[in-house]
Each structure stands twice: as C-alpha cells, then as structure tokens.
C-alpha cells in the first residue's frame, strides 16, 4: 500500500524518526522555556549542556563502568550541578540587564565548553552502546519498531508531561508560575526566590543533559552534537512562543513530524522546513503559536 507514491512502511519509519527527533526538540525547548520564564535568560549554553549530558554518560560507562540506567539519573545531576555553579557565579549578575547580556554570556560559555571537550576528546566522536534491555526491535504488525527509539519517545513524553503537570497543577508549580510573573511580590510573601531561580536553572539544565543521555546511543557522542541540534531547537522555541510550557512540548513534537513528512515527500526541503515555518510564524504571529502577545 502507498500514500502519494510512498510505501506505507517507509512512511511509518520516517514518522517514527520524526517523532523521535520531535521528542528531543520538545525536551530541549521545554528546558529553554522553563529557564527563560524564571530567569529571563535565553540559555544558549543549552546545546553544550545536552552534549555534556551525553559525554558524562559516556565517561561514566567507559571509565567507571556505570550503566545506562544509572547514567540517566547521575548525568543530569552532575551537569545540573555545573549549571548551578554557572548560575551562582555568573548568570545571577545579569538578571536586571537586557536579554542580550545573558545571551552573549551563555553563547560564550557554550563555545568555551565545546572547545574544552574538543581539546580533550577530538571531534571524531565516541560510540555509546544501546543498553542491552533495549536492543533489537518489535514487529508491530504495520511496522518494525526499534526498541530504543520507542523508549526515547516514551521517556521524553513522560518527562515532558511530568514537567508540565508539576508546573501547571501543583503547589510548587504555582510558585514557579508566580515567580515568572512577579518574583518581587512572591519574595515579599516569604519565598526564597533566589534559591528557586537557582534550582530552576539546575532543573532546565538537567532536562538538557537527560536528552543528551537519551541521544548518546543514537547519535555519536561528539563535542559538536549540541550546536548542530540547538539551532533547530531555537527555531522551535520561536515558533512555539518563548516561555510557554505546553507550547514548547506540542511544537517540538509537531515540528519533528513535519520535518519527517518533508523528508518523505520533498527531501530537498527537509533541512530548512522548520526555518521556513519560523519565518511564516514570525510574520503572522510574532509572539509564537502559544505565546502571549504583550
């Protein structure tokens, strides 16, 4: 069976690939949205932190024999700790300044971090094996599903929606929303807002590192893996609207699928389709699909 001249099997395979890429877009743009909401900082270090997540997992495995599942927890914690040090020593001095300063600092930090990893590990990349429990694939009847890819989609969705739930539906989330809107008043009520900001940054960074660990067995663990991906993720954020939680999740997944469909039907455009959509959205709805016009 074919749809517009494309065999159904091939279409499903591409859609799965799109869903998987979309999961990475979603989890990374979600982290950016959480950080931007609370810190008012556009975290250009995000790609480097995603890369660090993958590298820490690889180092944990190759040096210390720490398995994938433990790395999935440890690596985000370690990278978040580094992020917290960055926030406490550098970022916190920039909150009252224009966005541009935060952007320049985080962009510079990304270059420094990537440079350090390049010096240490080169650019040829390291291989990270798929964990044993997730090797092979499952025949779903209508398509063959590589187990690890299915796991990436499920794990990302669970983490994304858990984050959404915490922010939109819990008491802790009400502090975060209030802190995004009017942090001074929240502090006047007795909440330790500076601590909350630090932990929020740590959490956003942990999301990036988590995505990095998920990516390690799929892509090569490479010092530049983050900078390749983060450009697309920023386009996703612009399309979804900076700071919207649900918007970044839905837009990330949606654009992954759009990219996949483009790859099937008009492969020449697949590398630029997201940027074309970004241009159209900027023309029609400058605040993004889910952003609030101010």
């Amino acid at each position: 069976m074919e749809i517009f001249g494309v065999p159904l099997n091939a279409l499903y395979a591409q859609l799965l690939l799109g869903l998987m890429n979309g999961s990475f877009y979603a989890i990374l743009s979600l982290g950016l949205a959480v950080i931007f909401g609370m810190l008012n900082i556009i975290n250009f270090t995000h790609g480097a932190q995603y890369m660090m997540g993958a590298f820490v997992a690889w180092v944990l495995l190759s040096r210390f024999g720490v398995n994938y599942w433990l790395a999935l927890v440890l690596s985000p914690l370690i990278v978040a700790a580094v992020g917290i040090v960055i926030e406490r020593t550098m970022l916190k001095r920039l909150y009252h300044l224009d966005h541009l300063y935060g952007l320049l600092l985080t962009f510079g930090l990304a270059l420094v971090i990537e440079g350090l990893f390049r010096v240490q590990y080169g650019i040829s990349g390291e291989a990270y094996p798929v964990p044993e429990a997730l090797t092979g694939g499952t025949d779903l009847g209508f398509m063959f599903l590589p187990n690890y890819r299915g796991w990436v989609v499920v794990a990302s969705l669970v983490v994304c929606f858990a984050t959404w739930y915490i922010i939109e539906r819990t008491k802790l989330g009400s502090y975060l929303r209030a802190g995004t809107e009017n942090p001074k008043l929240l502090q006047a009520f007795g909440i330790n807002v500076p601590l909350m900001i630090t932990l929020t940054y740590g959490f956003g960074v942990a999301l990036a590192a988590f995505a990095g660990v998920l990516a390690a067995p799929i892509f090569q663990v490479n010092p530049l893996m983050g900078s390749n991906l983060i450009i697309v993720v920023f386009a996703v954020v612009v399309i979804g609207g900076m700071g919207s939680i649900l918007g970044s999740i839905v837009t990330g997944l949606g654009l992954g699928l759009v990219e996949a469909l483009t790859r099937v039907y008009y492969p020449e455009a697949s590398a630029v389709v997201i940027f074309v959509i970004m241009a159209v959205v900027l023309l029609l709805r400058p605040a993004g699909l889910f952003g609030r016009e101010s």
Binding site: S174, R177, A178, E181, L185, Q187, A188, F189, G190, N192
Partner: protein
C-alpha cells in the same frame, strides 16, 4: 506570636522605623522616616502622590534599592535581611497594584503565600468573610472584578498567620459600596488584633479606622496626628493633603 497581652508591656511595639533612608538607583526617595506602630494599632501613611508612602512600605520589606537606618520588627533588626526572611517575621503585604497573578486561579492566588506564623485564618473563615471569592475560586485571578481582586489581595495574607499587615491604597479605584465593605473588613481585622499600616489617598476612608496618622512630604514625616487630635487639626491636615 499571639496577641496575648503581657502585664509588663501591655502594648508592645510591633514595628519601629528609625531614620529610614531608601533609594531607587541613584534617587534618594526617603529622607529619614521615623514611625512606631504598637501591636493592635491601625496607622495610616497619608500624603500626596510621590511623597514616599508606598516607598516606605516597600522599604520595610526590602523591596527598594539601597536602604539605611533601622527597621525593627517584633524586636528584630531587619535592615540587612533579605526580603523573604523579613516576611517570616509575620508580615503580610498587599501591594498598590494588588499583585494578583494572571497565571494562577483565584484559589491558587489565595493559597500562594506560605504561612509565616501559626494562627492564620482558615480558608473556610476567609470564604465566610469574602463569599465572592468562594464563588469565583476557579476563575483566572485577573478575570475577577477590581473589587474582588482587592478582596483577594487582602484575603491571601490573612491565611498566612501574618500579624502586621501593610496595605497599600486598598480603596483606590473602587466603587463606594466596595470601599464601605473594605472599611468593615479593616475594622473586623482590628478587632481580631491585627496590626495594620494603611497607605491611603482617601482620607474619608482612613480617618475613622486609624489610631494615628502620619503625613509624608518629600520622603519625610511632616506631621503626626493622633485620633484624639483629629478634630482640632483637620484644617491643617486638609491643607497638607490638598483635599
């Protein structure tokens, strides 16, 4: 702290501000404010726009820029404390712009401020005092009417156990019938033993509620009027406030 009255200090000071200076960036806004509020008192800060009343409240909470002088709350010097620590000395703050959060529902707004002390009003008691808020508890905070938002802004600090309430222009821009209702609320809070500092433009609203009035001009206190002197100094007051 409860409002239990000690025989040795029947009416102890809750708030003592001495020689308070405050800045926004390079602008020097408060030039040595001195005022004292005893437990259970209601005092007002009166004055024209820009005289420094709102800044005085914000400076007490550490929400301005650089501050100098002394602010004792419940016997604790707070001039060097960060804002969130000051709140935990039992202060509830209702800002001039009301500060209702758009991203929170009415009830989430109500439950937002953490308890700063024991003995706060229960949600049930609060809904009894402000029945409108109960009806609208699932509405987005900023969808409430101006009066409801003002009620919510006061209600949410009654839950926290705060005993010193700093209320900024709560009657501003509200219909007379709502202002009247607010007057009742303030009176009943006073009966419950709350200590209240009111920043007011509406002298007619404030006059019958307060034990003492401080009049500010150019960041200084230029006149202090006790309730007992109110009648005799009314002319002077009107002249200073330009009403």
């Amino acid at each position: 702290m409860t409002e239990g009255v000690s025989a040795f200090a029947p009416n102890p000071e809750y708030l003592r501000v001495a020689d308070l200076h405050a800045f926004y960036g390079e602008s020097h806004i408060l030039h040595g404010i001195d005022l004292t509020v005893r437990r259970g008192e209601v005092v007002t800060l009166l004055g024209r726009n820009g005289s420094g009343r709102t800044t005085t409240l914000r400076a007490i909470l550490g929400l301005t820029g650089r501050r100098g002088g002394s602010i004792m709350i419940n016997g604790v010097e707070t001039i060097r404390l960060p804002t969130h620590r000051i709140a935990h000395l039992g202060i509830g703050y209702c800002p001039e712009e009301r500060g209702i959060y758009a991203s929170l529902t009415c009830e989430e707004n109500l439950l937002l401020p953490p308890a700063v002390s024991s003995g706060g009003m229960s949600v049930g008691e609060i809904y009894e005092m402000f029945p409108n808020l109960k009806e609208r508890r699932n509405s987005q905070g900023t969808r409430l009417s101006g009066g409801e938002q003002q009620m919510l802004s006061i209600a949410r600090i009654l839950r926290t156990g705060a005993r010193l309430l700093l209320l900024d222009e709560i009657s501003e821009g509200l219909a007379p019938v709502i202002v009247q209702a607010l007057g009742k609320v303030i009176r009943s809070l006073k009966e419950k033993g709350f200590t209240i500092v009111l920043v007011e433009q509406n002298f007619r609203f404030a006059a019958p509620l307060a034990d003492r009035h401080y009049v500010l001009e150019h960041g200084q206190i230029v006149m202090t009027v006790d309730r007992s002197e109110l009648a005799s100094r009314m002319d002077k007051l009107h002249q200073m406030l330009g009403v």
